[in-house]
Symmetry: C2
DNA sequence: ACGATTTGTCAACACAATGTTTATTATCAA
DNA sequence: TTGATAATAAACATTGTGTTGACAAATCGT
């Protein structure tokens, strides 16, 4: 049910479409990009585009979904490594979270070009929140469990935190990722924990 | 230089265009809205639209600018009232901030229809940050002054906070503003101050 | 290596929205 | 009331859209 083998021609077509689209997206807003333009840059027929996508927005959504899948896969990989080398209780929970967050920042740095498009101002906030939720949900849920905080109360602070992380990452990307991934990870965990402590100690 | 009197016909035209556009924006995404459609709903000629705006996006930008101006005006008004009734030192700074924030949430509630469009997921994050900066800059700058925090260090936390506020307000709007404005104000100030304290106590 | 299948190409198509222009009419400010 | 300004209506070339059907090329399973 997962990977039915995809025809090489299809792979190629989708690849060049995405590349051409991303190139265009670096120069102008999605609303100014036409299908015709994408096809010319990708050197494929316009009818071929319509065999794969409905329009620019559908294409972007599928690129976003792919990005989400890649992040998921990356997180799973990290989990497996952690299980394998598992040294329970050696390090503090906090240090563990920082390490995980640091890995994520490294992932973003390695995929800077795409991340700049999808996660910076150009991308949609809804998608960005999805990414942050994917990444920070395990962290936040663990940090909040056994804290006696009501779900309803927590949700507003949670919204604040998730969206805050988006802005935090955007700032980093806009800044050309000058701060170290370690600094970013340490700070974001500090901020997140700080907010949770505020919630607990109310 | 401010208010040259505007022809009544122009006022009317711009009004019906905005109304028609906002109605459409409640039903579908801006990318699906055509100029033709706006003009039909506004019952004006298409050439007239082009006499005022370049396209949908230009129109939206001008609506956003107008919204920003209104917020500014509202903030100035609050400042004047505060000066007039000024009771220096009576209440704590914190209580003062909460009151100001509460007023803002009341303003949002009173303009719920437009705010839902501009500040919720549908709107652009860049604009939303602008609004939040306008509102929280005075608060944050006062809270951070004399704290010995470096600008560079503060900027990342500042980005986190501003964007966090966006998500916080969106959550409220998505939730149909069930929580009281007082609760929202108190919480947002608590969170903001909490983050600043983290910055100070590093 | 084969044949069947799938995919991409090409040209053509009707259609719709765009942005601009012109002459004409209606409305405004003074 | 009058001169100025704004909105209208109709027309126009242009451009992108989305779809179609015949054809060629590449791919896959065997």
């Amino acid at each position: 049910m997962k990977n039915q083998k995809i025809d090489r021609r299809v792979k190629y077509t989708r690849m060049v479409i995405k590349e051409a689209f991303i190139d265009l997206l670096e120069k102008k807003d999605i609303s100014e990009i036409t299908i015709k333009e994408i096809c010319e840059n990708a050197d494929i027929n316009r009818a071929t585009f319509y065999a794969h996508y409905n329009d620019q927005y559908d294409l972007l959504r599928k690129i976003e979904d792919e990005f989400l899948d890649n992040i998921k896969e990356y997180l799973d990989m990290l989990d497996n490594i952690r299980d394998y080398h598992g040294e329970p209780g050696r390090k503090s929970k906090q240090a563990d979270h920082v390490l995980l967050a640091e890995k994520i920042f490294e992932y973003i740095k390695e995929n800077a070009k795409l991340c700049k498009l999808l996660l910076s101002e150009r991308g949609g906030l809804h998608f960005q929140k999805k990414v942050m939720k994917l990444v920070y949900d395990p962290i936040i849920s663990e940090l909040t469990k056994n804290s006696g905080v009501t779900k309803d109360e927590a949700e507003y602070v949670y919204s604040f935190t998730i969206t805050g992380c988006v802005g935090f990452v955007q700032k980093w990307l806009d800044d050309d990722m000058k701060k170290s991934t370690h600094y970013m990870a340490e700070t974001v965990i500090k901020l997140t924990m700080g907010l949770i402590d505020l919630l607990k100690g109310k």
